[in-house]
């Protein structure tokens, strides 16, 4: 029973994945001191880990040169692709500002048109009925 438990948790133990809070780590350490079967299992696991690391290979030295070559062309395009996030934010901000400007220009133009419209339709004699300061606004003084 103990051996099964230890063997099931041996890989976690070797990889420091056992919680420090529990007694599991201490239990496994103590068990390994006295149990040859579990000690053998641990040696096998250590051998697996070591053989996997030994089998690692390096990519060819050419690879970094290929990567740098791929990122070198079209420097302005590279700049845009590298700074997509920042450029998107700036573009959004500029669009909002231009949108607000266009709206306010359009709104002012429409306001003047409304006054002229009213004058034409109702033949309102503005000069007689409105004070001078309103007239100056209408005439854009």
């Amino acid at each position: 029973m103990d051996c099964n438990y230890v063997i099931d948790n041996l890989y976690d133990f070797l990889n420091n994945e056992i919680d420090e809070d529990t007694n599991t780590k201490k239990f496994i350490e103590n068990h390994l001191h006295s149990c040859q079967i579990c000690k053998k299992e641990m040696e096998i696991l250590v051998s697996i880990k070591s053989r996997l690391k030994d089998a690692m290979q390096s990519p060819s030295p050419e690879l970094l040169r290929k990567i740098k070559k791929s990122t070198k062309t079209n420097s302005w395009l590279n700049y845009i692709l590298q700074h997509k996030k920042a450029l998107t934010l700036y573009a959004t901000f500029i669009l909002i500002v231009v949108g607000i400007l266009l709206f306010s220009i359009t709104f002012n133009k429409n306001q003047n048109s409304i006054d002229e419209f009213l004058y034409d339709i109702y033949n309102i004699n503005i000069e007689e009925n409105y004070p001078n300061d309103y007239l100056s606004i209408l005439n854009n003084d």
Partner: protein, 159 residues
């Protein structure tokens, strides 16, 4: 631009060997593993401004490596046929039979083990990279380890 190149050099120096070996473990072909490594670093180069820190970059780098390697297998039937005709001993891409045997495991079992043993990730980091829970990482790694253990025992018994 120069800053970006220096940053990529730094990341390449730190991670290229692990990225390459994870791709190699999945694909079992050096040229294909190099292609994947190349593509991953190009993509990273153009996404560098969107990362908040080192751990974001690591997660992105290895997640992309695994996804690209798996997609490559899915989309390339010819690759799979070529690899299947190679026996464990004939597969000259691997320094030892154990690694060649690992490469023949199911992708879902070997990938977490590769991330743990090649790149040294914790279960928590592997869970984040693969978008699965920690319990699943543990059980898949244990499954892969048990298969490799049986191989070693066979070797020791002279089978």
């Amino acid at each position: 631009m120069k800053k970006m190149n220096l940053k990529i050099d730094e990341i390449y120096k730190k991670h290229s060997k692990y990225v390459y070996n994870i791709a190699l473990g999945i694909l079992r072909n050096k040229a294909e593993a190099e292609d994947i490594t190349h593509d991953v670093f190009i993509k990273l180069f153009y996404s560098l401004d969107s990362f908040r820190g080192e751990s974001d970059i690591k997660t992105y780098l290895y997640r992309m490596t695994v996804n690209k390697a798996i997609d490559f297998i899915r989309n390339n039937k010819l690759h799979n046929e070529k690899i299947e005709t190679l026996g464990v001993k004939e597969n000259m891409f691997f320094k030892n039979d154990l690694y060649a045997l690992l490469a023949k495991l199911d992708t879902e079992h070997k990938v977490p083990l590769l991330l743990a043993e090649i790149a040294g990730f914790s279960y928590k980091e592997i869970a984040e990279i693969l978008n699965i829970n920690i319990g699943t990482v543990k059980s898949r790694i244990n499954r892969a380890i048990n298969k490799l253990k049986n191989k070693i025992k066979e070797e020791n018994n002279g089978l």
